[in-house]
């Protein structure tokens, strides 16, 4: 590949990284805190390419003497793929499909959790709710009304509320599921984002249900996809 082409490709690649951060779309793929690093990396890539372009113009050298010699440079073409993926396909955040591939969760010994704050309806993260429902020896969720946000997953006649937890990037996503118990879930399709208020069905999260609890739904309404679709 020619030197000019490499530089153009680098500008596109760096630009793609910056675009992801500036549009906020990077939270579909990585932790939000990666944002500044991605922006810095994108800017540096553009800068490195820019320096090369300017120097080539200023020195006006026939730098690559025209032929495309480096036989290792075929792989450089692969850099087109992330550029096209970011600008044209813009893959969505992981959703129902990843939840359905999930492996079974493993039992861990019960422990005592910190008491929950007071309040009529308690907003909770899915990870806190699912962990407490299965492993809290002090039953802090008993008779508490909670509010959870996630996307719907229809699986084998049941409807679940789900959310994915990522630690580094979407490649290490782990799903959390809560089965929704309610007569009025017909209109809900997989990947619809909803906010659900309800109560834990006591004793529903055990090895039989793969440690995903049941939630008796009080109210449910649609929401837009949150700016950070994952929990951390």
């Amino acid at each position: 590949m020619r030197r000019e082409t490499q530089n153009v490709l680098l500008v596109l690649l760096g630009g793609a990284l910056c675009k992801l951060v500036l549009s906020g779309a990077h939270t579909r793929y990585v932790k939000p805190s990666m944002g500044p690093w991605l922006l810095t990396a994108g800017a540096l890539i553009v800068l490195l390419a820019g320096i090369a372009i300017v120097r080539d113009i200023v020195t006006s050298h026939p730098v690559d003497d025209g032929h495309e010699h480096h036989h290792d440079s075929r792989s450089t073409w692969l850099l087109v793929l992330p550029v096209l993926a970011v600008f044209l396909i813009a893959p969505p955040a992981l959703g129902a499909d990843s939840v359905q591939r999930a492996q079974p969760r493993e039992p861990v010994p019960k422990a005592n959790f910190a008491p929950l704050p007071p309040g009529r309806v308690l907003p909770m993260t899915m990870s806190d709710f699912v962990t407490r429902s299965a492993y809290d020896a002090s039953n802090s969720l008993a008779s508490r009304s909670v509010r959870l946000a996630g996307f719907a997953v229809r699986q084998g006649g049941d409807t679940y509320l789900a959310r994915l937890v990522i630690t580094c990037c979407a490649a290490d996503a782990m799903p959390l599921k809560v089965r929704l118990v309610s007569p009025g879930l017909r209109g809900l399709r997989s990947n619809d984002w909803v906010e659900v208020t309800g109560r834990l069905v006591p004793g529903s999260a055990d090895a039989r249900t793969n440690f995903s609890p049941d939630l008796r739904v009080g109210s449910i309404h649609r929401i837009g996809e949150p700016s950070d679709p994952y929990e951390h």
């Binding site: 692969l78 970011v86 969505p92 580094c168 979407a170």
Partner: protein, 334 residues
């Protein structure tokens, strides 16, 4: 005379790569709708998200790696490196492994740096040891491991010991049996100095060249890892707790095909609490030194002959070192 002029004018003009790139981009933009439909099946969508995630996550580390590589090429003369490292290969391997503690990145950063070290005249054995140690024993990775295993802090020491041992053993094996001609000549060739320019110009040019060459292979590795992420059934993990040998082997294989960043892998295995600690330790020691992403980058940087020999041996050595570290530090299978 006239015939000659026509011949010159008719000489077929070779299409340049810049024109191909422009054509490609225009085609992709025109058929964007079709492209979107193509990726509308759930598994392809999941795969493409994972692919972009792996590339995006790795880019800052790759940029860090090529900047360090450029800095070594421009500002650290080969003589300084030679003075810094012990003359004997076996001792240099030890120093290089411990130097890995200082590069707080993941494996994508260490490949261009290791190559630059070789090119600056560092013994390949020492560069290889650095390549394996840097992603596994640096403070960021060790802290992540401690956070992921709050109930068993000895995992941190076990991981450190297993990974360091892997780097040392591989370095010594290379010093004893390795041959320079397994590494492609272009990896060892010094970059031509352009117009006798400044050191800063050399720095920028080296970083740019490394970015171009390593970036492509990073993308290749990301593609492979994303495909395997979607294709390998997670049912593999069921029932592994009962058979230890099988557990160790499957976890080692999973580390290779999942190609997780060394800063995230601890959190992933920490969640597999049905498995004893030992197979999970094997995952943590194997992952940073050999995985599909890394094999692609090594094959691209050092050549296929190198990667074909290096990756399988590293795989075996890493399993053995991890098991040994597990038995010594964890005091058994646990």
């Amino acid at each position: 005379m006239t015939t000659q002029i026509t011949r010159v004018a008719k000489r077929p003009r070779k299409t340049t790569s810049l024109e191909i790139l422009c054509g490609l981009l225009i085609l992709a933009a025109v058929f964007q709708g079709l492209l979107g439909e193509l990726f509308d099946t759930p598994s392809l969508r999941t795969g493409s998200t994972v692919f972009v995630a792996i590339c995006v996550q790795a880019m800052p580390f790759l940029v860090l790696g090529v900047l360090i590589s450029g800095a070594i090429a421009a500002f650290v003369p080969a003589s300084a490196l030679r003075r810094l490292l012990p003359r004997r290969d076996s001792a240099a391997v030890g120093v290089a492994s411990l130097a890995g503690v200082a590069l707080p990145g993941c494996e994508c950063a260490s490949v261009p740096v290791a190559r630059r070290l070789m090119q600056q005249g560092v013994a390949p054995a020492a560069a290889v040891a650095f390549l394996l140690a840097a992603p596994a024993v640096n403070p960021v990775v060790l802290v992540a491991t401690a956070v992921a295993f709050p109930g068993s802090p000895e995992m941190v020491l076990a991981r450190f010991a297993g990974s360091l041992a892997t780097a040392l053993v591989m370095g010594w094996l290379w010093a004893r049996f390795g041959r320079v001609d397994w590494i492609v000549e272009r990896a060892l060739r010094a970059l031509p100095v352009r117009d006798g320019g400044s050191k800063w110009a050399a720095f920028a040019e080296t970083a740019r060249t490394d970015l171009v060459s390593s970036g492509g292979f990073l993308v290749l590795g990301g593609l492979t890892a994303a495909a395997l992420n979607v294709l390998v059934p997670s049912s593999w993990l069921v029932g592994l707790g009962s058979n230890l040998v099988l557990g160790v082997l499957v976890m080692a294989l999973l580390a290779v095909i999942l190609a997780l960043c060394s800063e995230a892998d601890a959190f992933v295995v920490a969640s597999l609490s049905a498995l004893p600690l030992l197979p999970r330790l094997v995952f943590l020691v194997v992952g940073p030194v050999v995985d599909v992403k890394l094999i692609a980058m090594q094959a691209g940087t050092f050549g296929r002959a190198f990667a074909l020999r290096f990756a399988p041996v590293t795989f075996v050595v890493a399993i053995v070192c991890a098991v040994a570290a597990g038995l010594l530090v964890l005091g058994g299978v646990r």
